[in-house]
Amino acid sequence: MAPIAMNGRAKVRRTSRQRREDVLTAYLCLLPWIVGFLAWTLGPMLFSFGLSFFRADMLTGSRFLALGNYKELFTEDPLFWKSLRVTATYAFVSVPLGAALAIAVAMLLNQNIIFLGFWRTVYYLPSVVSGVAVSLLWLQIFNPRMGLLNGALKVLGITGPKWIYDSNWALPSLIIMSVWGVGGNMLLYLAGLQGIPTQLYEAASMDGANAWHRFWNVTMPMLSPTIFFNVIMGLIGSFQFFSQPLIMTGGGPNNATLSMVLYLYNKAFLQTQFGYASAIAWVLFAIIICFTLLVVRSSNRWVYYEGEERR
């Protein structure tokens, strides 16, 4: 088998003309993407970065402010700080909570449970639905007067809070709602668990490890790259959360659910302060870059794929 393949390789050994043709083919194939990248990504990015140093609205024209927008954001804008706090709270509560639940469900489903497909579908299904549909549905569930949640609490003899209409409960409500969407993470953890070699568990059992020890000494270490990657990706996603507060609360009550992107959206498209909004976008971008660097630093995942390429 091998010698024949080598022979084949030798026959198609590249002459320099072929090489040039290859490079040309490569760049012709990439041309649409390169043009698109310049037009829809790199160009707008530079434009946005520049814009963040200007006062720019659609009506009055623009004026250079240097770091004025950033200075205003950090020193004179309590709403910005509020949105940063809201977003960070949402991200750092909902993501670990979601990860813990997703791992728990994934471990349950990884025990050779019968009807695996059914359970997996039940847990995953909410994740295929649009944020708008989820928001509209939960708007009814959270309704203090006729909603499902307070109806259920009433049966237990508890008078439920006003959920999204109460500034103390609005953000927790959105976090509760986010749990309904853990199915996507659950699938990723399930795949991670299925990738753990069973010999490791067998070896641990032979050495007398019980289920608890096996969990902490085999499952957790083997799953930790997956957990790390998913948590960081989850944080990146959560820092961009937008449609739920826009649809359900409009950022209220009393700005209790004003996320950074919602604030950015309001500044850009309701008040047409494009420069100021761009500055918010770049602060958000800086935060997301920090998370991204964490992923790249621990690039187990990418390394794995690179290894596959050379196989």
Binding site: T41, Q140, G151, L187, F274, A281, L284
Partner: protein, 300 residues
């Protein structure tokens, strides 16, 4: 070879020795399944409750909606709520717009992304690693950074309040799809390419005659992801579309909230209907869908 044979032999001996406890083992397996299912049911019930509530609410009449405590199963299920709501909310228009966007996005993304993924998987050319790094970085870039300039550009081009800003950019490739397709292309043996090359096939010919036919499932994954994403997209339409005649389903649903303040059943009926296409897309391609999610690390 001999080692495994010996191992299986010793296993056989052990199993003979334990044959008496076989029944005990079977009982334990059944008990384990019962326990697992007992653990899975409460969570599953909680996850299904909102769905059930949505279906139930959609068939109620207004009086029943405001009934406290909540009624789980309406005595009469008003199927005509769905038809009434569809007409009331001008949903035919929204579905048409969404369908146009979805179909064109699927065509655009599949064509341009597979073409871009091909050289990353198959050709050695200067700048490949740098360009691939750019693809990966684009995946991480939050859309908010480019949102405002894109709006300015599209409004200068006169594209705002038309479907063009939602249709045209996908024809230039999508980073996630390029990444996903490259991963799939790498799983196809290069020897097939070499064989075709010996038979006189050009470089680009191997893409059309070998890679594309062999990675049809992967193209399906990209198509389904693109479809689901376009179907569920809210921020893009929200920014670029002003007049209701161009609204997509997500925008239409939001507009419908204002029209149904008390008659929530109509809103729930239309919300439920809007989820059918993504759900069907998921079910028909479940196996590949899950594979795609696992490879990209993106949750659909």
């Amino acid at each position: 070879m001999t080692a495994t044979a010996a191992a299986s032999e010793s296993k056989a001996i052990v199993s003979v020795g334990r044959s008496r406890s076989k029944r005990g083992k079977a009982t334990r397996a059944v008990l384990k399944q019962v326990l697992l299912i007992a653990l899975a049911i409460p969570g599953a019930a909680l996850f299904l409750t909102p769905w059930f509530w949505m279906v139930s609410t959609a068939g109620k009449d207004t009086a029943l909606i405001w009934h406290m405590p909540p009624v789980w199963i309406p005595p009469v299920y008003h199927w005509d709520n769905y038809i009434k709501a569809f007409r009331m909310g001008e949903f035919a228009m929204y579905y048409r717009n969404t369908a146009i966007i979805c179909v064109l996005n699927v065509i655009g993304v599949v064509a341009s992304s597979s073409l871009a993924a091909f050289p990353f998987a198959r050709i050695r050319f200067p700048g490949r690693n740098a360009l691939f790094l750019v693809v990966l970085s684009t995946m991480m870039l939050p859309g908010q950074v480019t949102m405002i300039p894109l709006y300015v550009i599209f409004s200068k081009l006169g594209w705002v309040n038309s479907l063009r800003p939602l249709i045209i950019p996908p024809f230039f490739g999508d980073a996630f799809s390029i990444f996903l397709l490259r991963q799939f292309f790498l799983t196809i043996s290069r020897e097939l390419d070499d064989a075709a090359r010996i038979d006189g096939c050009s470089r680009i010919g191997t893409f059309f005659r070998i890679l594309l036919p062999l990675t049809r499932p992967a193209l399906g994954v990209v198509a389904i992801f693109t479809l689901t994403y376009a179907w569920n997209d809210f921020m893009g339409p929200l920014i670029y579309l002003n007049s209701p005649k161009w609204f997509t389903i997500t925008l239409g649903l939001r507009r419908f909230v204002g029209k149904t303040s008390m008659d929530v059943q109509y809103l729930m009926a239309m919300t439920l209907v809007s989820t059918i296409v993504p759900i069907i897309a998921f079910f028909t391609t479940q196996r590949y869908f899950i594979q795609g999610i696992v490879i990209t690390g993106v949750k659909g």
